[in-house]
Each structure stands twice: as structure tokens, then as C-alpha cells.
Symmetry: C2
Subunit: 550 residues, 2 copies
């Protein structure tokens, strides 16, 4: 008989999914609204693609795999196409750019905000549905498009609430790295494995330090546990070229400090020292050096900023030396110089945008400039140790995305902001200002006078005040107060028989009374000082006064 | 060999899905933002559940069906649960209300806005992903919760841009219909089939008229094509009871007109005629009659409105007579009277909320009050015929939704706004005010001065002006103007070599020039009168002036 018993369904979100309540929804929305405003000002248009795409168009899978569910949620339509939930916002953009290529403006600037789905093992804080917030420009070959996205990223972070100085947008170029590889003799097709090891080693600089990276470029590295990682097997000469790249940032720091000192010592604008050091900047710089110099030492330049401005120029100078005669390498350095030129012309100094050779992200995917926004303040990790907050956004140029649909290469560049990470950062800095105040609660003392209580609520709402009547069972007044407490209600309105007779209402300040609210009876409650009795006709004005005081 | 050729993927949305571009996204967002503001003021909190639920929790399917994909998009996790995309926002709410029942405030007022998915045959204008916008109160047994949602629905429609007089919220009660069935002798378990036919017949009143409905209550009805629909086989007496319900609205109209006339003839406030007609209103009214009368004939009542106010009271009076001694029927009438009482106390007259026995929606699902928002203006259909716009929102009380999870009945009531239909209505009435103006376009005359152009764009953006630099190939100036045209750009900024030398920029008013923009060369363009040349330093001020003039 027990088999016949109706089994109740479990009330559970699927594994790896979650729900968002109240402020969790409004805080994210407020943040995305502010970012959308910046994107809009930059001329980007919203695009909302469907959550469902054909697996064919998402294009992550081999046609001979029976069930293409690795990494995505996919299912087969009855005897027809395989469909899947989008795993990012870039793949749908590629499909749209191809599908509507004759109708869309070119270049096409679009932003997209919405959930994406990953069929991956969920972990702590890692969910299988999460938000992305992307902006991309399709069809713009000029690196001005990359410069624009870097500037927009800086503006978007500030609009969201990250103060200037708390973030930096770092820019690098995949082509520079290719140039360095070429100089190091690692550009051939037969050097694929070595290049992979070198790239992964560079990417680990923050964790392993220069020494660890150097070991991985050579024979290999033994970690603390004794495990051995095989290296790229480069000669000392080859390894030195790569290490030059790894050290480019600190080398530039030194040069910048040096010239900064010299400039500060001598006459600001055009001392001989300044001039001679400018020559340093020109080393390896194939274009734009003069423009950069003019920008650096122009009459309007604040002497104090020359050093830090020079840092960006110095990095470009160092990179220029590193790529030697490599055509692609020099192209990459020129592109960086042009990006720098543009963002400087828009007033974005090195406090906001810096050239940083250390940015090595998704290099298999990107084909030119890459960029990353890093938050520079410290937070405490789960073990109470201070650590830098780190990256909250990244992107770059990917010129081949549309090609798989149309056969035609279409240049594209874009950025994706990590919505949850940025929200976490705003929380960590106390910059979330979502209004979590609950509604004013009109309590029910006499259920036959429901229309009177609802009339009060109606007046408050008509005056723009968030308000509710208690709609549970009104018998136990304590439950009404518990409810008001749970709702973070600022004020409770009470009108019993006496008040109704004398044409008054009582206003209770609940924020003052929150501590005793849990178990208060009506009598205790009425004795608290934070309450006023006002004529019924003054209800709205009195509520407004009590809300304003706070 | 042709087999080895790489087949390019089709760049297509899956069948029945679509993309939303630019204004399509922002218009919907603006409308939902305004509605959310109203919901917030009413004390409702946002809830965003995951798009994916377990099929078990969605609960639309039999456990022995191999593949539960009827109506939903579903797939099986590797050797584990069946998952599915939510098909509405109510099923996830039921799951949430059960899952978090110990943590949520009770009553729990929540709103939800987002896409839902239906695995149905797509048709013209019918998509397999679309938006819903719901508000529900869980855990409030009082019909004050239903009254609140009706008032909120009226406010939400007005906030979205539907003017008062262009919509009406209609309220009915499932229990009244049950009472009428009881009086007609159709309440037994053995009368299930007859009840079904009767309900479907009532629902067709708009299409078939009273005569058609009457035929379906008896032997049956032959339509114009000659097809015969079998009727419920009611006796004349039974049919008359049901027809009384069908005619309740027009009967109430007659009574309302009558009393309106009498009241207008005599002394306004308390003439003997008014009093004697008030007795009419009391017929069949089991509660609230006195309160209603007071509301109707109170000293502050505008005489002109008595008639239309009386219409609601008259409907209740007529329904009260129809349900006779049926307990559930009288309960239903009392509930309607209480709802009316509450919304009137909040100032919602019959111009916004009416009792309408004709509302027969989803009766298998709802257990008490049901409501529907109808737009009362006419639009032209696809054949150019005038027709009423019709329903844009509906809902009601459904008390058993959470029970399947917990075994405990939890009262709930809520409304769902048809997002696409409401948007279409706003379009039809010309009440969509989304800003479709494109960005100011800075054209590129000399690609070596990209930084200068980007500097202009930076200044405009910093001043809050939507602006872009043309980032395609600048060689063909005509393409730049075509681009500006496609972007609905209001102004193009031009700075060629001459202007650069003399330190000026040219501003072109593109809205004036739109007609010739398609094929204009730079020369034609420059000769148009709607252009000004201003000093470079005045760029922002001059753009602002040109934008303001328009």
C-alpha cells in the first residue's frame, strides 16, 4: 500500500542553481543600470538574444559527439536540432553579427546583460547560472575601438561605484608577445608545445616570481611539495629574451622613476636632461614617439605627473626593444602606442589606464590588444589574510569569431564585466546603497474595519510612501509586529477602537523599537516613547515627518 | 572529397526564438521599471528564481512518462534528475514558498519579471521565449489581498502609460459561479461533464451572444458552417438560472441607470426615492449593504457618480439573488462586496475597478476571486477592422499551489501582466517615449589624427552627450554619412585639414539632412544650410545648442 502513497516533490532548486531575493535583485539591477548608462553614452546599443541557441551555432562541439553536453546544457528537439542554453554572450553576438550582417550598422557597437548557463560541477560560490555584462564593437579594424572600450571600462567602474585610484585598466597586446616569441626563436609551427609552456609560465609570474618563471623556461621547476613541472627547455639566450618581457614592467618603472627625478631637478619643460632622457623613450618606438613626447612635455603638463605618464611611455619603449625586428611585434608595439595616444587625448592618465605586459589572458582566443580591469584595494580573504581584490573585467580583440558562419573575417573587440565579482567588490567597499527599508505597516486591530486600514495604506501609497496593510491572520498582534520586524518596516500604524472613536492613529517608530519587537505585547509596545498619536487626517504628513527625521 | 569540406554553421536563431535590438530592449525595460516601482510602493519584493527547475518541482508531468517534454524544454542530467526551463513564474514561486517557508515573511508579497519558455508550436507573433511580469501574495487568506492586487494592477497600468478611462480591472469570484451551479442543480460529482460545458458556454458569451449560450445550455448549437456542438442538456429551469448569471451584468446596468435617473430627479442626498431604490440594492446582499449605501449616498458623494457607483453595487445585488441559499455562493458574493468596499475606501471607483460576472478565466485553477485588466480602446486589426484591444493582465486566488510540496494548504493570489501585449498597446496609443536618438558622430577626415577625433568624443561623453567616433574604414566619407544615418545620429562633427589649421569644427544637423544623406558626397553635404563652423574649444557648447533647439 505504501507504494500507492503520493510522493511529494522536493521543493529544491536544482544542484548548482540559486534564487535571488529582494535586495540581491535590486542591487545588481542598480549596478547594471548605471553601467548601461555609460555604455549608452558611448553609443552602444542593447541586444538581448534568446537564451536558447542551436548547438551548431554555439559551435563548441564536434558533430560526431552523441550528446553534446560538455560544458553546456543541451537537449535534442524531437528528431531535429540540438538546442542549448548560451554559455556566454559572445557566441550569440557572433551569430547575430552573421545573421543580420546586412541590416546592422557597421561598426556595430552592442552591449548585453543577462544570465548564461554552464553545465559544470558547481562549487562554493560557483553557480551554473550567472550574469554577464558585455560590450563589444564588431567591424572596427582600428585599435581606436580597443582604446574606446578601455576608457569605457574605466567610466563604467566609476559609475558603478569604484572610486578612481581603486582600479586600473591594464592593456597589453597579443602581437607583442608573438614578436617576443619570434625573437626568442619560438615562432615555428614545430614550437607549439614550447610556446604553450612559455605562455603558462608567464601567466604564473604573480605566484611563482621571476625565479620560478625562469626555471620553467629552462629545464623545469620543482615545487615545495617536491613535484616537478617540465620546462620549455629554452637556451639561456632564448630564456633571457622572454625574461626581458617578464621584467618589462619593472624595467619601465625604473626608467620612469629616473626621468621623473631628472625632470623634477631641472627646469620643467625643456631642460637638456629631459630631452636626453626622452631619447630613451624613443628607443624601439617605431611611431608616435614624437606625439607622446609632446603629450608628456607639452606646456600644459603638470610636472608632478610627468613621471607616472612616462611610465606608460617607458613600457612601450622597453617592449619596442624586446621585439627587435619582428614585424608583428612592432605592429603590436605601435598599436599599444596608438591606444595610449588616444586614451591620453581623452584625459585618461596612468592612474586609470596603463600598459602592462603582464596581462596574458586567453591568448589562444585573442588576436591583438587584450585588457583587464583590476581592483587595487585589499580585502581580507576567508582566512583573514589581506589580498588584492584582483580582476573584475577583461577582454580583447578577437578577429575571427564571425568567420565560421560567413567565411569572411570580421574584426571585433570587447569586454566582459564579472557581475558577481564587481558586486562583491562594491559590498566589500561599502558602496552598495540599495534601499533596504521595508514598507510602513498598517496593523489590523479590528478585522471588521479592514476597509479603513486599507484606506490608510491607499493614502500612503498615493503619496509615494511604500506601505502595506498586514494581511495575515490579525488575531495575534505579536505576529503583526514580528512581521513588521522581518520586513524591516520603519513605522507601524495602529488604530484600535479608542483611536478610531477619537479620530486618531498611533505611529510607532520601529527602528528604535526593533530590539524588543520580537516578543512585545501591545501594552509594552504602547509604552515606548518612540510613538506619536496624531489626527487621522494628518496620517500622511506625520509618517513623512517620522521618515524624514531618520 | 566534398564530404571533407567544412560545412559552415547556419547563423540562425532556433525556430520560435528571436532577438531583441536596441529600442525593443530599452522600451520593455522602461515599462517594467515603471511597473516595478508601483509593485515596490505596494510592499512587494523582487524575486529572481533560476531559469532551470527540476521537472519534479515544476510538476506538470507524470512520473512514468519517458521524456517529459510536452510543453516544456526538458533534459536529463547524466543519470540524474530531469531538468526543465520554467514555463511560468508561478510554479517557481510555489517551490520557493515551500523551500523557504521558515524564512520568508508571511504573508509574502513578491514580484517577478523575466523570460519563460514554452515548447510549443511557434506561430506568427507567438514565440517560445517571452516575458512575464507577475505579482503575488502568498499566505494572506483575506480578500483584502485580492483587492490590493486589483488596485495595484490599476496603478501599474497607469504608471506604464495607459490612461485612466482606457482600461478597466474586472473582478469576479469563482465561488459565485459555484453557487449558481448549485442553485441550478449542477454541483454533484456526477455533473462534472455538464459543468464543463456550461463553463465553456459562459466563456463564449462575447462571441456567441445570449442566444448562442442558451442553445449550448440546452440541446446544443449548430454554427454557421453547419457543425453541431452538443449542449449540456439542462432543463429550461436550470438554464434560466445560468442565463440569469450570464445576464447579471446587463440587468445591473438597467438597475443602475434607473436609480441614477431617480436620484438625479429628486433631491440629491436623501430623497425618499433614493431611499426606496436603495432597498433594491439590498436585495440578496448579505453583508456590507449599509456600508455600501453610506459610501454611495454619503454627504461627499458627487451626485453624477451615484449611478456608476451604483452599478457595482447593483451587480452584487443581482448576484446575491442568483446564488439563493448556496453557502459557497453567498460567501462569494460577500467577498466581492468586501473587495468593492476596500477599493472604494482607497478611491478606486467603477471607472477603474468593476465587478463583472463575465470574467470566467482558468476556472479549473482559481478558487476564489478572479480578475482581469481589459484595455477599452479600439485598435485596427490586421484586416483594418476596429476591435477592442482586450485583456492585458489576469489573475486570481489559487489556494492549493504550495500544498503539493508541503501538504499544507497556503492561500495565494496574484496577477500576471502580458508584457508583450501591454507593450503593443502602448505602441498603438503612441505612449512609448523611449529615446531613439542616436549618438553624435565624429567623422574621421584624416586617420592620422584619430587621437584628435577621439579627444572630441571624449569631451562630448564627459559632458553627458551620447557620442561616437566613426571606427570603420574612414576612406569613403559617404560610408561615414550612411553610418550616421543608420544610427539615427542627430549631428555629425567634421574636422578636415582646413578646419584643423584654423582651429574649428563643423557641426552638421543630420536630421535636416537625412533625406540626402544616402548618397551625399562631402561637397554636397558642406553646402547644406543646416551646418555651423565653430571654434574647436566651443564644440561641447555648440553641440548642446543644436541638440536643445530640436
Amino acid at each position: 500500500m505504501s507504494d500507492a502513497k503520493i510522493r511529494r516533490p522536493r521543493a529544491e532548486t536544482p544542484k548548482g542553481f540559486r534564487d535571488y531575493f529582494g535586495a540581491e535583485v535590486t542591487e545588481r539591477k542598480a549596478m547594471l543600470d548605471k553601467i548601461a548608462e555609460v555604455y549608452h553614452r558611448y553609443g552602444f546599443d542593447p541586444l538581448e538574444t534568446s537564451a536558447v541557441e542551436t548547438v551548431e551555432s554555439l559551435g563548441k562541439f564536434l558533430p560526431d559527439v552523441d550528446r553534446p553536453n560538455e560544458g553546456v546544457f543541451a537537449w535534442q528537439e524531437d528528431g531535429s536540432d540540438w538546442l542549448a542554453l548560451r554559455y556566454d554572450l559572445t557566441a550569440p553576438l557572433a551569430r547575430v553579427a552573421a545573421q543580420y550582417r546586412n541590416d546592422l550598422p557597421s561598426p556595430y557597437r552592442r552591449y548585453a546583460m543577462g544570465p548564461v548557463w554552464r553545465n559544470e560541477k558547481p562549487g562554493p560560490g560557483r553557480f551554473r547560472q550567472f550574469y554577464q555584462c558585455d560590450a563589444d564593437t564588431v567591424g572596427a579594424p582600428s585599435v581606436a575601438a580597443d582604446a574606446e572600450i578601455c576608457a569605457m571600462l574605466a567610466d563604467a567602474l566609476e559609475a558603478a561605484g569604484i572610486e578612481r585610484g581603486d582600479y586600473v585598466v591594464k592593456v597589453n597586446n597579443r602581437k607583442v608577445l608573438n614578436g617576443v616569441m619570434e625573437v626568442a626563436g619560438l615562432s615555428g609551427d614545430d614550437k607549439h608545445a614550447e610556446r604553450g609552456i612559455v605562455l603558462r609560465a608567464i601567466d604564473k609570474i604573480d605566484r611563482l616570481g621571476a625565479e620560478g618563471v625562469r626555471a620553467l623556461l629552462g629545464e623545469g621547476r620543482k615545487d615545495e611539495s617536491g613535484d616537478f613541472t617540465k620546462g620549455a627547455g629554452l637556451s639561456d639566450e632564448q630564456a633571457e629574451v622572454v625574461m626581458g618581457f617578464v621584467r618589462a614592467g619593472s624595467l619601465a618603472d625604473e626608467r620612469a622613476a629616473e626621468i621623473s627625478k631628472l625632470v623634477a631637478m631641472g627646469d620643467a619643460a625643456s631642460s637638456a636632461d629631459g630631452q636626453s632622457n626622452l631619447d630613451l623613450a624613443r628607443d624601439g618606438l617605431t611611431v608616435s614617439a614624437q606625439k607622446l613626447a609632446a603629450a608628456l612635455f607639452g606646456a600644459n603638463e603638470d610636472v608632478k605627473n610627468v613621471g607616472s605618464h612616462y611610465r606608460n611611455t617607458a613600457v612601450i619603449s622597453v617592449l619596442g626593444q624586446l621585439v627587435g625586428n619582428s614585424v608583428v611585434g612592432n605592429q603590436g608595439v605601435d598599436e599599444l602606442a596608438e591606444i595610449l595616444d588616444i586614451v591620453q587625448s581623452q584625459g585618461y592618465g596612468p592612474d586609470r589606464i596603463v600598459i602592462d605586459p603582464g596581462v596574458v589572458r586567453g591568448l589562444g582566443y585573442y588576436t591583438g590588444p587584450v585588457y583587464e580591469a583590476e581592483l587595487t584595494f585589499e580585502i581580507l580573504d576567508e582566512k583573514g589574510r589581506k589580498r588584492q581584490f584582483g580582476s573584475v573585467a577583461g577582454g580583447g580583440r578577437y578577429d575571427d569569431l564571425v568567420k565560421r558562419f560567413t567565411g569572411q573575417a570580421v574584426p571585433a573587440t570587447g569586454v566582459s564585466i564579472g557581475v558577481d565579482r564587481l558586486l562583491a567588490a562594491l559590498h566589500a567597499k561599502g558602496r552598495i546603497s540599495a534601499d533596504t527599508t521595508g514598507p510602513v505597516i498598517v496593523t489590523v486591530m479590528d478585522r471588521d474595519r479592514m476597509a479603513d486600514y486599507m484606506g490608510m495604506v491607499g493614502e500612503l501609497r498615493a503619496a509615494g510612501i511604500r506601505a502595506e496593510c498586514y494581511l495575515g491572520n490579525p488575531k495575534n498582534f505579536g505576529n503583526q509586529l514580528k512581521y513588521a520586524d522581518k520586513r524591516h518596516s520603519p513605522i507601524a500604524i495602529i488604530q484600535g477602537g479608542n483611536e478610531a472613536e477619537s479620530g486618531t492613529v498611533i505611529l510607532k517608530d520601529l527602528i528604535l523599537g526593533a530590539q524588543i519587537a520580537q516578543n512585545a505585547t501591545l501594552e509594552e509596545w504602547k509604552d515606548r516613547p518612540a510613538q506619536v498619536e496624531v489626527p487621522r487626517a494628518d496620517l500622511v504628513a506625520a509618517v513623512r515627518r517620522m521618515l524624514d527625521i531618520r
